[in-house]
Amino acid sequence: MSTYQAPLKEFQFLLETVAPLAELSKLEHFADATPDTVRAILEESAKFARDVLDPLNWSGDREGSKRNADDSVTTPKGFKAAYDGYRAMGGAALPMPEEFGGLGLPRSVVTLTDEMLHSSNMGFGLMPMLTQGAIEAILLAGSDTLKATYLEKMVSGRWTGTMNLTEPQAGSDLALVKTRAVPQADGTYRVFGTKIYITYGEHDWAENIVHLVLARLPDAPEGVKGISLLVVPKMLVNADGSLGARNDVKCVSLEHKLGIHASPTAVMQYGDNGGAVGYIVGQENRGLEYMFIMMNLARFGVGLQGVGIAERSYQRAVSFARERVQSRDVAAPKEPSVPIIRHPDVRRMLLRMRSQTEAARALAMATAYAIDLSDAHPDEDTRKANKAFADLMIPIVKGWSTEMAQDVTYNGVQVHGGMGFVEETGAAQYYRDARITTIYEGTTAIQANDLIGRKMAREGGVTAKALIGTMRAFAASMGASHNVNLKSSQAKLIAGIDAVERAVEFNLSNFNSNVRACFAGSVPMVKLFGIVCGAWVLARVALEADRRIGTGHPDKAFYEAKIATLRFYTDTMMPEALAAADTIVNGADGTLALAEASF
């Protein structure tokens, strides 16, 4: 039996190290986000996740969402009530501007509340995540009328949002979008087409659903420069804000998926009866541009799903490993059988799970902190530098955190042995739920392309090189510690940074002359950056832990665990980073050698 307990102490420590909240609340923009208020918010959110969302996770998976004959969708038992509770708590409003009823909290705090949602119930957590994305899109480019009509109701959670990008022929390549938007004399548009994979495209939680839809105008240029973004509400909204007639959009089926069963993944049909009424967001033909700005946050959000599901999988595995008695201690074969947590290989699996989860979380927090500074710092150069860092990190947070979540949830099943393969134990659900995270909001390869192309080669590697410099300076500062574990980790971290430098150089010097070679190693580049940057943030945390132990802090065990976790991570994960660097530099010829016809 395992109940989700949010790692609040860990959260707190991150808010004192890699994402120092005390610094953020000095900025006028975040003046209300004082450490004591944030602690109370995290504690209350943790309670909700533990008592309401976690208990619904398994039943939601078993039951799934169902489409009814009248095109409506029924979500699993208890989910609507949970959503009402979430709304009443004000959960949906956290990061949103106060102007529209939000709380304006920093991303560094919302990162933690989002993680708790995904840890306790990923199928539920998708809804707030998607609605946040839709709100961002309207905030970013919507007209004042659109903002006034939709934002407050979406921020309060009364209405929810969706993102309609994918079509059967347009997945990663959105240039192929075919959905049509036809301008009308009154300034609105009529939308016709089919959208697939629409998370919470239809459900029974809210009276209205605000769809953000990518579509093509009749005279639009070919390709990515001819795509527009429109708001298409399920229920039309009258001038006074009340709900009017049903719009010409419906859910025509739900997908049968490997995981996240609680959440309905809809096929949406627009315009079967004369056209769905839509309203343009921003300017015509600039939809993809808006979508990409917003996509950064959505990708970051999926990275957090990776962290969240990994944390939950780890907690369940530890709980099982403590209880399950099986086989004798290898060093005490005459003694009775012991809980499996005493077996070295189980320890290895658990630490592998834990250290990667902590590293990915700390990296997400360092990124969130940079996002906050890029939004709210008074100095323009500081804002720019942090924006560049966050932009570089986002494909890594998304790509690496979700890939490591595969490894973590895999081991989460493995720790359980045969019990992990049967659904009743709960470990299998995390393994299945995690699987989508490397796919949606851009597959790992799409993240990798973004990293080596847009975020690295296009700017001549300026930000990547600056990061290498920052990491080197930090690694040098670790030398001041007398702790042998930290010393050992320092050497490994430096080797990792060397490997990053080698790989970045390879990418920059070949991107124009031998671009296929660079793309052959793009996913290993995500892994390399993930592991090494993960070690860097874990080491920052461990160094502060070491300092606190030195001052005689009473919570010694917690801080010692930080150092031990770093040691394990640099000893056993770093070699995988070095191997990834080798693959990048030396693996392209082999990867591209086999003729297409020979597959």
Partner: protein, 249 residues
């Protein structure tokens, strides 16, 4: 009508507590602390009375160390209007708390005091009763239903044998049982607003109360570990064990 709700900061109910190695008490360093669940129910009840229009102002009060401010902020996030912390490092016992509360009642003149029936750390179940005695007010303990109309509170109490409904004249003391209500989650906007509500800090000396402990704790031990069971051969062996080993018959 004003209502006073005393709240206590205790070890969170999810924490598995450990006895200190010198057996002087329970180790509460670095463990998560929260509002006593029965006190949460008391705050919730006061807020519901306010929502019904019976109560106009809710004052939360706590006695103890500086960190009790967090507990009071929590009470204000649920709906208390303002708070008073009686700040002291002294280990407070129920009689001292009751005296402190009496001093606050004398000053604030509430018509109703709603307290948790007991705190989950020491399980004393005394403060409400002592406060009623010190004030000379009526008391309804272990409440599972509360209705207030005019100057009379009608309270259903949970007893060993069932339920008892009594009515009592205000001012009065009510202590809450588990089934009185299910406390709401503090909304996140209200957590932020609570930060801006008034929290006054006074010292026991300001209230003229001597809080020196009257009782001495001699020793604290963990409950004995449960022994594994054994299978007995027959009834005679069972009776023998009950008589000579367990010594229960």
């Amino acid at each position: 009508m004003k209502v006073l709700v005393p709240v206590k900061r205790v070890v969170d109910y999810n924490v598995k507590v450990r006895v200190k190695s010198d057996n002087s008490g329970v180790d509460i360093a670095n463990v998560k602390m929260s509002m006593n669940p029965f006190c949460e129910i008391a705050v919730e009840e006061a807020v519901r009375l306010k929502e019904k229009g019976v109560v106009t102002e809710i004052i939360a009060v706590s006695a103890g160390i500086t960190q009790c401010q967090e507990t009071l902020r929590n009470a204000m996030a649920i709906g208390a209007d303002r708070a008073i912390l009686i700040e002291t490092d002294v280990d407070l016992q129920p009689l001292a708390v009751a005296k402190l509360l009496k001093a606050v009642v004398d000053k604030e003149q509430p018509r109703l005091v709603i307290l948790g029936k007991q705190a989950i750390d020491d399980d004393a179940n005394q403060t409400g009763q002592m406060l009623a005695a010190l004030l000379g007010w009526g008391q309804a303990t272990f409440a599972s239903k509360v209705e207030v109309a005019g100057d009379v509170a009608t309270v259903t109490r949970e007893m060993d044998g069932g339920l008892e409904t009594i009515s009592l004249k205000l001012p009065a003391i009510i202590t809450t049982d588990l089934r009185l209500n299910e406390p709401r989650y503090a909304t996140l906007p209200n957590i932020m607003k609570a930060k801006k509500k008034e929290l006054a800090i006074v010292k026991p000396a300001d209230l003229g109360v001597d809080v020196a402990p009257r009782l001495t704790t001699l020793r604290v031990d963990e409950p004995p570990k449960r022994q594994g069971g054994v299978k007995v051969a027959d009834v005679a062996a069972l009776i023998d064990k009950l008589k000579n080993e367990a010594k229960v018959i």
